[in-house]
Symmetry: none
Subunit: 242 residues, 4 copies
Amino acid sequence: MRSDARPAATSATGTPKAKRVPRAQREQQMLDAAVQVFSRCGYHAASMDEIAEASDVSKPMLYLYLGSKEELFAACIRREAARLIEAVGQAAEPGLETGEQLRRGLTAFFAFVAEHRESWIVLYQQARAQGEPVVEEVAAARRQVVDAVTLLVRRAALDSVPTPRLGERPDRGEAAAVAQAIVGAADALAGWVLDTGPEPPEETARRLMSVIWIGLEPRLHGARYAADPPTPDEPTPDESAR
Amino acid sequence: MRSDARPAATSATGTPKAKRVPRAQREQQMLDAAVQVFSRCGYHAASMDEIAEASDVSKPMLYLYLGSKEELFAACIRREAARLIEAVGQAAEPGLETGEQLRRGLTAFFAFVAEHRESWIVLYQQARAQGEPVVEEVAAARRQVVDAVTLLVRRAALDSVPTPRLGERPDRGEAAAVAQAIVGAADALAGWVLDTGPEPPEETARRLMSVIWIGLEPRLHGARYAADPPTPDEPTPDESAR
Amino acid sequence: MRSDARPAATSATGTPKAKRVPRAQREQQMLDAAVQVFSRCGYHAASMDEIAEASDVSKPMLYLYLGSKEELFAACIRREAARLIEAVGQAAEPGLETGEQLRRGLTAFFAFVAEHRESWIVLYQQARAQGEPVVEEVAAARRQVVDAVTLLVRRAALDSVPTPRLGERPDRGEAAAVAQAIVGAADALAGWVLDTGPEPPEETARRLMSVIWIGLEPRLHGARYAADPPTPDEPTPDESAR
Amino acid sequence: MRSDARPAATSATGTPKAKRVPRAQREQQMLDAAVQVFSRCGYHAASMDEIAEASDVSKPMLYLYLGSKEELFAACIRREAARLIEAVGQAAEPGLETGEQLRRGLTAFFAFVAEHRESWIVLYQQARAQGEPVVEEVAAARRQVVDAVTLLVRRAALDSVPTPRLGERPDRGEAAAVAQAIVGAADALAGWVLDTGPEPPEETARRLMSVIWIGLEPRLHGARYAADPPTPDEPTPDESAR
DNA sequence: GATGAATGAGCGTTCATTCAT
DNA sequence: GATGAATGAACGCTCATTCAT
């Protein structure tokens, strides 16, 4: 149960009990362990004892370096959120065509989730059920992503998506709604893949793009979903499908 | 609400305290309070003391009727999930056209979330951060919804969406992915509306339909999102996969 | 070690494990034990576990009834200070002649200390080394005593002790100084008796009165201690001795 | 203070940090810091970390030189008690007249307290709330002072204060009681001056002498405080003893 | 049926103390 | 000689849970 087969990638010392490790490294060690435990048990059910043991350090070290359980959790959230955003941002090069940018971002996202299962679980499932200080941290990270997607959507739409009406909150426009839907769908698919077994991230990204992008483009040319066919003065969506 | 006809043998006390309430009603009272408290504090941070006080019953009653904190939480989840599914199922009458069925289901969903804010928060945010027994409960409810949507998608697609290949897990087909995306998008929009202020559920449903349904129908006639073929000067996605 | 021979004076139930005791009684039980432990170990060294065990209740009860370690300590201080002041105040009937009033007060004080050894130790030794909230409590009690003595001194002095000069702080007058000295001397004698073995409180009071009162009366007729005999215009104390 | 003559073999580092300080000096440094911290926080609340930091040495040094927290505290007590006794003893030159000797000792005492506020607080307030080993140290110092005062008192009394009866403990005689009262009164006045603002030590000493010495001298000629004889209409104290 | 009284168990946190360098 | 790194052991406090009335 203790310090299982982590292959000691960085410092290949053969010593079974790594002692006297410099601070920065120990901190990462602790964060690694904390993410593992938090993702498995959630914030409250995780005990500092367990995290300390998983980190292979004593509890006082944990407190000396990370301050408190809440700060430790926040540090996990911050690190993992930064990693996720970094990975996605890296992939979505600004020079690309809009759709391609989104597709690559999504691919990077699904790849990240597959590779960092625990990070994702902590961010998406555990961090949202906490008290204010932490939940705001993760909400901010999510907002950052949603805002980026909103920009993409708006850019893709050129001028065809109506500019927010005067006085309307900027986060309430149609583009924002679409971005929220996209991000939410991505979240759900990420969880779905985690549950049902792996598939190439490109495949998952394609699946999502097939739903949203094909649907997005017609809208950009004015298509709207109309509840009831009886309204004849609105063009049927079918017409604008390409 | 039901007047208890038992002769007031012991109720001759002048205390205005409502006593001798039938069990079923008491249970609902407790569940109501529990949902309130759980949604506000989360599972762990909520204390049985607080719930008992909010229920206006003593703690031993709570335990007598609901068994334990975990069972109480599960009961909350079960009741709220049932209510949600009931509401959505009610709205999506089987006789309707597929798209309309989905639209009405979504509308009912957004209406439910607006009206039962706490139920939704417990189901969507709190219940997912728990240990196995409870999380499975809510996962089952979600699966039920996703399956229904999957059926809709598949029906809408007629034959154009490829039937799951033989031996393929039924939850891995394209229709299932689309359903997951839809449900995830709906979740996200529900949270978005909760955060940014109310709007008519029909409007939110329309927003989502505009994204997914307009996109879905072309696919039903064979459209697929292809990353590169249209842009031959673009590198294959494989290269950028990480 | 547990629940030793406390003779169950109040409720002579023969049950060896007194259960289901009404709250008020339990609270006194806890305070009794806490005073014992605090007097033996001091505030910090005393552990709530130890106090709980000495009270013959579990720790949660301690917290439920008394709130926190600090509040518990404060409650001890308050109760014991009140008892002490009550005892002394009772003895020093206002109608008596001034000197007699003081003598009776001192007698009651020494009797109290002899009878409530622990209370006294907590008040005098332990409570003064704490952080602000508690130290102020005990300081206030002491001030109350000193003020009473100051009044006595001033009354005894009639007008012969100079009224505080204009603008002088009321607690800086000569009478206040004398009162402080008296109380300090009483404290010291109380400790001395505790250390060296009991003697009748009347005897200890007489000892102190012999020092201060005989000295006080000449002063009341103008005697002052002069450092150097060379000042011939001030009467030698000897003259005013009666 | 003693310059260490060892050749500066390793001290060739250009660091401005004061290194290679001789042991004796370092020790004083630590004691200084410790007294500061102990007087501010009390024994338990003071942490070795804080003391080490205030001493500008590392914690292992602290332990190497002073052994343990308790030993460190005891060392503080010892040093400060020695300083106090030295100061008082210096002032009370044996050649002087008895009263003058006492007056000068008291003056020195009040001067010391004013000048070494922290030392006094540690000795008088903090050290008394500890467990056995330390409390004995400070009790011994106090005993030394009391004994000196007892001698003074006895000397002043010539033969008029009855010599301890045969077999009586030497610390139980009337002279001892008087000495205790004097020291206790001095303690109280010291605290009083600390609380209410400074005044010349001579003034405080005069105040105390006015109370005790004027009263003492009549006693030396046989005066005793008698509770009732002078007032025949007053009940005997015995009756009111509780 | 209903509840005030009571607790076992465990968690977050800190501190005096000591290696290994 | 001097120190950053590390820990065993408690302590204050709380909570889900259950008697005894």
